[in-house]
Subunit: 230 residues, 2 copies
């Protein structure tokens, strides 16, 4: 017996996004990546999906940020293994761009920004989590569009690209085919909202129940905007 089965209301396989790519760079925030991915891991039990993990090189990528941004007295990191570089990344339907302390160092994400600029016109959708929106903003793709980002890092993040119409009070924002979300755990809510749109609400509910996750269903739910006085 299959572990999960598609409800009859699910959108058929020919119509939905199947090819995903996630961008990683040193100092990425783990939950920015693995929150959305684990929801999609579970979805891949019922759809024939493919994931590319894309970085500058194929070497394992650590959550440890380069330079002086990490605690020199701590040694508490994880590494993920890419299967594509920014040069070899295959055609995608959806690209996911995580945030993380590592993107405060420009030289650490230059090639990722170039890749986002190059790949965006070929995508059906682009999803950002946390300060991942800064990479997409710097690629020039968000100019004149509405987007949100991490609320604690708000001021420093929006300063990178004032041409974006930054939305301070939102769990996530959809503008055209770009879905941007607030800090870290908001990535889980945006992926479920995206899943409901793309595959069907019953599918999203099934996967959320599989993960025993209580979704925030209102994109305007955002206590952290107030907490950080935005």
């Amino acid at each position: 017996m299959a572990i999960l089965e598609l409800p009859s209301s699910a959108r058929p396989v020919e119509e939905v996004s199947l090819k995903y790519g996630v961008i990683v760079y040193p100092g990425f925030q783990a939950l920015d990546v693995f929150g959305p991915l684990d929801a999609l891991n579970s979805l891949s039990l019922v759809y024939p999906m493919q994931l590319s993990i894309i970085a500058e090189t194929l070497d394992p990528i650590s959550t440890q940020p380069p330079g002086s941004l990490s605690n020199p007295r701590a040694d508490f990191y994880q590494s993920i293994v890419p299967n594509h570089t920014f040069e070899t990344g295959p055609p995608l339907d959806v690209s996911i761009v995580p945030g993380g302390i590592g993107n405060r160092i420009a030289s650490n994400v230059e090639t990722a920004i170039d890749y986002v600029r190059k790949v965006y016109p070929t995508l059906r959708y682009l999803i950002t989590v946390c300060t991942g929106s800064r990479l997409v903003a710097e690629a020039g793709i968000l100019d004149g569009r509405r987007a949100t980002t991490n609320k604690r890092a708000w001021a420093t993040t929006i300063a990178y690209r004032p041409e974006v119409e930054w939305v301070p009070h939102a769990r996530w924002v959809v503008d055209g085919n770009i879905w941007s979300s607030s800090g870290v755990s908001a990535g889980i809510d945006v992926i479920f909202a995206f899943m409901a749109m793309e595959y069907g609400e019953e599918v999203a509910a099934m996967i959320a129940n599989f993960l025993e996750y209580e979704r925030h269903l209102d994109s305007k739910w955002d206590p952290f905007s107030q907490l950080y006085n935005l």
Copy 2:
């Protein structure tokens, strides 16, 4: 300026757990691991913590379960890189045991169960997420103690070890120094409850706000118990 700073109410570094180890095996559930770890990653910005990622060998460990449990038409997996084996695992304060479809295959987790049995007497605390409790139960450590597990996989999981006092309605359960949680995303709630106990409530709140995560603070909150008719 530091990214985060400890509140004055935080417990001093000499008194708290600093050495963590997480067990991984093929087919682990990504969020079981990276939910708790990302909360702890953030905590390691203010405490001198160390993480060991412990597996049977040092080869990268994939979320892909062995054999026929994955969708043969999908290719959607991530790999984490261990830095210790069950043989070389260093002294720990806290061990985290995740669940995942991979532990439905006994031969896939035999060495992990042996390791749990060996390491438990040396730990200050043991934390299980989802069906990770099944490994600890099979190690014989939970006999006569209260514990919970994934609610969707309830019947098959508790059957492994009826000697445990399984609690069907709970987000997490504490019995002695063992903290067990319900399915997948419950791992995030249990780590914050543990953090509040071990480092201080203000610390836990600070890290939750850093991750823009709304904690479930009531260990008895569990809509999934009812959903799955337990």
